[in-house]
């Protein structure tokens, strides 16, 4: 009989980042992670040293820790998780 495991399908993060690297590089790096199908980044605010962006990630199995690690590797900081969608996925055991 299979087990139903919850998987994260959508994640929306509030991220503070320096100007470099640019948002398309952040989006590309996140999109290259396993389990992520698409990434949408919107610039919310900008000041002399930093930018606040909304990062919307859609995928089949998003690993939140890997996403956070990737974001921090680019010098950015996750301020908050604004939205999350979780679904049940059948796994055979």
């Amino acid at each position: 009989m299979g087990r139903l495991n919850p998987v994260v399908k959508r994640l929306v993060l509030d991220v503070l980042k320096p100007h470099e690297p640019p948002i398309y590089e952040l989006a590309a790096k996140l999109a290259s992670l396993h389990g992520i199908d698409s990434v949408h980044v919107t610039l919310a605010e900008i000041d002399q040293s930093t930018e606040s962006v909304k990062v919307a990630i859609d995928g089949s199995d998003i690993e939140i820790d890997r996403v956070k690690h990737c974001v921090e590797g680019l010098g950015a900081v996750v301020h908050s998780v604004d939205e999350v969608s979780v679904a049940k996925r059948m796994s055979l055991k």
Binding site: P18, S49, G73
Partner: protein
Amino acid sequence: MWGYIEKLRSYLRVSGVSSASRRYFVMNFFDGAMTMLGVTVGAFATGSVHPRTIIGAGLGASLAMGISGFSGTYMAERAERLRRYKKLRKAMLADLKRSMHSKAFRIASLWAAFVDGVSPALAAAVSMIPFALALVGVIRVEHALVFSILLIMAMIFGLGAFLGKISRENIFLSGFKMILVGVVTALICLLLAAI
């Protein structure tokens, strides 16, 4: 290998060191070329054109310029970039130790220092090629002198053209302006030797 190069490029892009490196390259390549022009013209003016002497003087000057350029630029760039990195950490309210920025500022300092150290040595090395050929008997010393000066002028012209391309000006005009500086330098050296 390609992965390392891509990573290096991303660190240099994030740190914004490309424009500073371009400036260091131009200034120091020019320094190296002009130093060798001075050595060559000075040797000609004093009548002691010995390939071994010129190569020795050139190597000594290249080494001194290279070491001084590398160490001076590394210390200056590191101080400036560390200041910027700390300012960024304050703005982000985060440590940034695991971020690419903590590596980028160190690599940027090393890269700028490398460019500053290598560029005068490169210019000097190219200028010495005719004398190296004269040393092994491929060409005569008199020809080596002429070829070396022509090579230096060609490098200076190329540098001027490069600057013209960057600033979107007439590359030939930029090149000739640089050659003018070289010609004036050579004339001053000849004048001083005559006195």
